[in-house]
């Protein structure tokens, strides 16, 4: 029992990061009808800025992350204004390729700007904020120790706050209405007097900012490199598909489910061992395969995603 609980509680950081990345991907998909492959690398670029500020210039963490997010916003805006707006007649696949080109440019650009910067040391937010020496809450429950990482909790809290604010904006602000209209049909929305240029620009900048925030969180558990967000990004795409692109909350639920499921399946071995049995099957090694396979089956059964709506096509 405690193993399962720990498996869930240990995933707070990854869940927080995946949720942010997924939301960014969904926002871009809905407003610009493309899957943004550069999401991860824009985030990595911002993260390099944050790392430099925090480590080299000893800027306080709040300002450092804020500046990083501003960089993310800037890159997002540049991408939308300079590239996407000029290429409005590019089809969906073409837009994907453009984002891939961006990945290339950023991958090449990072070493040029930051030197040769693999493995920059990056402590958890919790340490930077100096919220206490003890990194974990731990207490006994049901015959085992429950450990909650304070950093994970902090990050999850930040994520929940940010996502809630954006959801409220989507629901009640004029911008949110514009986003929903653009997502449903960009052309009609434009005809109805919605400034879709503005909508996409704001969406790209929000996506950039969220990406950098996610990267800065994730940097504490993974070495920074231009491609260190790739796995998260792939999971984000899959989460978005699992939840269904037609809503905003579906992908987020997907983003919570995927790391949880992986961690739970991965913990099966130690559960079996602790309950006296033994297993010849290495669950930890196969956990991602099982999760992806389960997801594939789920999507095959519900092609529009778990929370998606079916759209009929007229002949």
């Amino acid at each position: 029992m405690s193993i399962f609980l720990n498996a869930i509680l240990g995933q707070f950081l990854v869940i927080a990061v995946t949720v942010l990345a997924t939301f960014a991907v969904t926002l871009i998909f809905k407003t610009s009808t493309t899957t943004n492959f550069a999401q991860g690398s824009i985030a990595a670029l911002g993260c390099y800025v944050v790392a430099d500020l925090l480590n080299k210039y000893k800027v306080p963490v709040y300002y450092g992350v804020l500046v990083g997010m501003v960089v993310g916003i800037g890159v997002g805006l540049v991408v939308d204004l300079v590239i996407f707006r000029k290429g409005r007649n590019v089809n969906a696949i073409g837009k994907q390729i453009i984002t891939m080109g961006l990945v290339s440019v950023i991958f090449g650009g990072i070493p040029v700007i930051f030197g040769s910067p693999e493995n920059i040391p990056f402590a958890p937010f919790y340490n930077y904020m100096e919220l206490g020496a003890e990194p974990n809450f731990s207490f006994a429950l049901g015959g085992g120790d429950i450990v909650i990482s304070k950093n994970g909790l902090l990050n999850l809290g930040i994520t929940a706050l940010v996502i809630t604010v954006i959801f409220l904006l989507l629901r009640y602000s004029k911008w949110g209405l514009g986003v929903r209209a653009t997502a449903s049909n960009e052309f009609t929305a434009e005809l109805m007097g919605i400034n879709t240029h503005m909508i996409t620009a704001v969406s790209w900048s929000i996506a950039g900012a969220l990406g950098v925030l996610a990267a800065a969180m994730y940097a504490s558990s993974s070495a920074i490199s231009p491609s260190f967000m790739t796995t998260i990004q792939v999971n984000a795409f899959l989460a978005a598909i699992l939840g269904g692109f037609s809503t905003f909350y579906g992908p987020i639920i997907g983003a919570v489910l995927i790391p949880l499921a992986a961690s739970l399946i991965g913990s099966l071995n130690s559960v079996l061992v602790s309950s006296g049995g033994s297993s010849s099957f290495d669950f930890a090694r196969w956990s991602m395969i099982i999760v992806y396979a389960l997801m594939l089956v789920a999507i095959l059964i519900k092609p529009q995603g778990l929370f998606g709506k079916r759209i009929a096509k007229k002949v």
Partner: protein, 365 residues
């Protein structure tokens, strides 16, 4: 001068020969056949190989290696070209399919001790089955959803490879090819041979009813069905071809670069799928020559040309940036890729020539 005069006179009196019976038009007809073009490509590569064998200063081995790499990825890319350009199906699972080819080759040739031919057949069988599965998925899910789903499948395959074996390592000394022991030079010939054969088969296929049926399916599924084209048959076919080609590419890759670490190799990640996609788009998704050119730009240009330029060899990061920018610019301004560019250039030359002729001869008003 004298010959000119006679020709002027003849042209004035008997202006045009019947079509198809001059030496030039016969030559044109010969070169217009895609199969002949591909054979010539193969012959050129053979010449390259021989030149390298005679004197490695003439054609350095690095070029031979780059060509081999390009051809391997181009094999994958032409399968993908059929999928994307002709059937309108997007897939990001290419890397996984390549991985299957790699692992099958490794398992059969290294661990089971089979010959190349048996390994090839096994890889074909496995990828065929995989292609059928993905094809069935594509009947239910379309567009970008399909792309991301295949990405998931590719991730499964990558994780599977990592779970199955940490390194994929082949010693060429154990492999017999048609009864002959091979070294890495002969692997190049094998790659060229396989590539040219697949190129010819693909070229024939896209000019046949099946290719047209795929195009019909891409443009309008309902019209295609009303014309008697079975969506299931051709979607399965498209996916089977793309997975089979990818597996063949993987099999050849493992022979060219016989030591791959599954957990760190970029080959099985999203990057490869995206690069293949980019190659096809840059080249022009409906042109085999374009696809080859696109693959060369992404995989071959670096080793053959850019590395010889001092500026680029000092700053390898710049190459990556340039490739990225090139990708963005091509997609933004030439959505049809290099093939469209060449077509445009040809039309431009034709237009200019017509204008010159008009200026010279004038038209009556």
């Amino acid at each position: 001068m004298a010959g000119l005069l006679k020709n002027d006179y003849l042209k004035a009196v008997a202006p045009r020969p019947p079509a198809g019976f001059t030496a030039l038009s016969r030559l044109k007809k010969f070169f217009a056949q895609p199969a002949n073009q591909f054979l010539i490509l193969g012959a050129l590569m053979l010449v390259l190989f021989l030149l390298n064998k005679i004197n490695s200063n003439l054609v350095p081995s690095s070029i031979i290696n780059a060509v081999a790499t390009t051809f391997i990825y181009a094999t994958v890319a032409i399968g993908f070209c059929l999928l994307l350009g002709y059937s309108g199906l997007a897939s990001l699972g290419t890397a996984g399919f390549i991985g299957i080819g790699c692992y099958t080759g490794f398992y059969m040739m290294e661990q089971a001790g089979a010959t190349y031919l048996v390994a090839l057949l096994t890889a074909l069988a496995i990828s065929l089955a995989l292609g059928i599965v993905v094809g069935f998925i594509s009947l239910r899910i379309e567009g970008i959803y399909l792309a991301i789903l295949t990405l998931g499948l590719s991730e499964i395959l990558r994780n599977l490879l990592m779970a199955l074996s940490s390194t994929i390592k082949i010693s060429l000394a154990n492999i017999k090819l048609f009864g002959v022991k091979v070294d890495d030079k002969q692997v190049f010939l094998l790659i060229v041979f396989m590539f040219v054969v697949l190129l010819i088969l693909t070229g024939n296929l896209i000019k046949s009813p099946a290719g047209r049926a795929m195009l019909a399916m891409k443009n309008s599924t309902s019209a295609a069905q009303a014309m008697g084209i079975s969506l299931m048959k051709y979607r399965l076919l498209a996916f089977v071809i793309s997975t089979v080609y990818a597996a063949v590419g993987g099999l050849m890759y493992v022979m060219l670069i016989p030591n791959i670490t599954t957990s760190t190799s970029q080959l099985f990640t999203l990057a490869t799928s995206l690069n293949i996609l980019a190659a096809v788009i840059i080249g022009g998704s409906k042109s085999l020559w374009g696809t080859l050119a696109g693959t060369f730009i992404i995989y071959g240009l670096n080793a053959t040309v850019l590395n010889r330029i001092a500026f680029f060899s000092k700053n390898p990061a710049i190459i990556v940036i340039v490739t990225g920018l090139l990708l963005i610019l091509v997609v933004m301004f030439y959505p049809g890729g290099l093939a469209q560019m060449v077509k445009g250039a040809r039309a431009f030359i034709k237009r200019k020539a017509a204008a010159i002729r008009r200026r010279r001869y004038g038209d009556e008003d």
